[in-house]
Amino acid sequence: MHAPASYSMLGGYTVRSWAVLLAFGALAGAAGLAAMYMESNGHWVTGMTQRVPWGLPHVFAFFLIVAASGALNVASIGSVFQKEDYQPLGRLSVLLAFALLAGGLFILVTDLGRADRLLLTIQYTNATSIFAWNVFIYQIFFALTVIYLWVMMTPGLSRFYRPAATAAFIWRLGMTTGTGSVLGFLVARAAFRSAIMPVEFVALSLSIGTALFALTMLAFERFEGRPLTSPALLNRFRRLIGILVAVSLYMVAVQHLTALYLAERRDVEHFILFSGSIYSVLLWAGFVLMGSVVPMLLLFIPIGNGRAWPLAVAAALVGLGGLALMYTTVIGGEAFPLELFPGRLVSSSAFDGVVAPYSPSFVEAVLGVGGFGIAGVVVCMGAWVLPVLPGHVGAGADQVDPERQPHPPLNNPKPIIG
């Protein structure tokens, strides 16, 4: 067992750190205003319709929730799978998981038609609804991440480290399964009702979550002006994300190939894959090309000479590709007409038989991006007040004093009482 790495908080309250916090805060604030606008006028001001009731906000929300469970991946590798090189990054990973889930749930809650009735989900629960189960699963995930981080930060609680890490790991698999099941359990839509949805979401969480973690870690490195990882660990990250991206691509390919084979799903698959609509463009150019093939090339081919930029670019592309896949999956699945009479031409005054038109509105985009704002605020404030950044990773490196600040020390007088 190596000597334990030391941790630090973000160095001081500089103008730059305030600027970043305020930028994220502005995104979150704008989303709040957008939510109030939607709530007071009604959802007609958005692009969401009777046929496409879930729109761009839900795309962002699904993305953030799936990414949240995946962001915990790095901490799990360090603890559950006992790869010690990853252990110093564990605290940041848990903080990011908490932040991303908070961002995703913020979007879902503010988009509700009657958000003031949120507490009813606890008083009145329907056991057959995966949504109702998810409400409790998400709350317990929050609690588990807090406990996990607490255990990591308190030396006296080290005997709870493995149990807390294992609990969080298992719970996040359940959480992603629950999120995928929201779509997978839908009998109504040919694009959704599939047992592979929960599994595909677990695979996606691994690739998207680890990619977002890598981006966050590199961003902190840039900001602090010091490396948080060794070059060897950076290379291992590249390979890891490359493999996870390949797994996600495989899952999506299997989903579509098997659906294409079934005659009853051929129409919807042709729509998603080959119709030339925005959904097929986003799937092929967005997820497959930009979000999977290009990142894999960047990650597996040894370019960049051990620098960080191939990882950063690849991670960003994976994230964008994941967002594109969510858009295609959720909205493409909704836009395809309901098949009341399969094989027959149907028309009505309510958009039966035609691809439902959907164009996202500005307020939806503001609300969706605001989820990232919330996540950013949580990560920044967490890094400000909690020692989550690794001091220096790697054998033989000079140890940084715990909680050392490059700025004048804070005043910590002894409390009078207690």
Binding site: G42, G113, Q123, V187, V346
Partner: protein
């Protein structure tokens, strides 16, 4: 304090907490079901039978009647306007045959909308009518995603012209109620009444579980089908001629 008494206290506390938070939904729902359970009585199942051979593409008396009954006015935005019942025109591409029929909430006995609602606001009454309890609907639109028939709507705008017998409000889900206010008063749904008045007489309303009712006798005699019967949702609305 011994561990057993500590456990007992924790269990009692959990029980009190649970009854405080969960009780309203569980106990009241159970009481409501008991209220209609008369011992030895046959369960009613309200249903509608639609003869599509009598339904013409030009007639939309049922739609107009429903819109009038509940004041479902258009706001000039067809994508978000409410439509509780709609006329479908179906063309069989192989044969060229054209069918016209109205589709509304099918009041399924295995309703997907009831399964997915997180608060249980989407529920089925003991007599088969599927409704939305707007007191606890949070407006998540999961039921709208889940309905295979596209029957559920979301109220996207402020409503102040609702009928006293048909509450509807912004931010909640809604659908055809099989005119439950009429049915409970012993009358028939507005669409069925309008269809009869228009002369086509394509719609028949009644108790599917009553062997002496006209609808039960007709369903037993002539072939009828449910839309997407393969999904096994078991709707209460049946169609002849599809």
């Amino acid at each position: 304090m011994s561990s057993t008494s500590r456990r007992g206290i924790l269990a009692a506390a959990a029980g009190i907490f649970a009854s405080f938070t969960l009780a309203p939904g569980i106990t009241l729902r159970a009481f409501a079901e008991q209220a209609l359970a008369v011992p030895g009585a046959r369960t009613v199942r309200w249903g509608i039978l639609i003869d599509t051979t009598r339904c013409t593409p030009e007639c939309d008396a049922c739609v107009t009647a429903c819109d009038t009954e509940f004041n479902l006015t258009s706001n000039g935005r067809p994508r978000t306007d409410p439509q509780w019942i709609r006329k479908l025109t179906i063309t069989d591409q192989a044969s060229g045959h054209v069918t016209s029929l109205p589709v509304m909430c099918q009041h399924c006995s295995e309703a997907p909308c009831v399964d997915v609602c997180p608060t249980g606001a989407s529920f089925q009454r003991p007599d088969g009518i599927v409704l939305v309890d707007k007191h606890i609907c949070i407006g998540c639109r999961y039921c709208i995603m889940a309905c295979p028939y596209g029957a559920r709507n979301f109220v996207s705008e402020l409503v102040d012209n609702q009928r006293p017998w048909g509450p509807r409000g912004k931010g909640t889900a809604e659908a055809c109620t099989m005119c439950v206010h009429r049915v409970d008063a012993g009358r028939t749904p507005a669409c069925v009444e309008a269809c009869a008045a228009s002369g086509n007489k394509a719609m028949l309303f009644g108790d599917l579980n009553d062997p002496d009712s006209e609808i039960a006798k007709r369903v037993a005699t002539f072939p009828s089908a449910q839309i997407r019967a393969d999904l096994r949702t078991n709707p209460a609305v049946r169609y002849e001629g599809i």
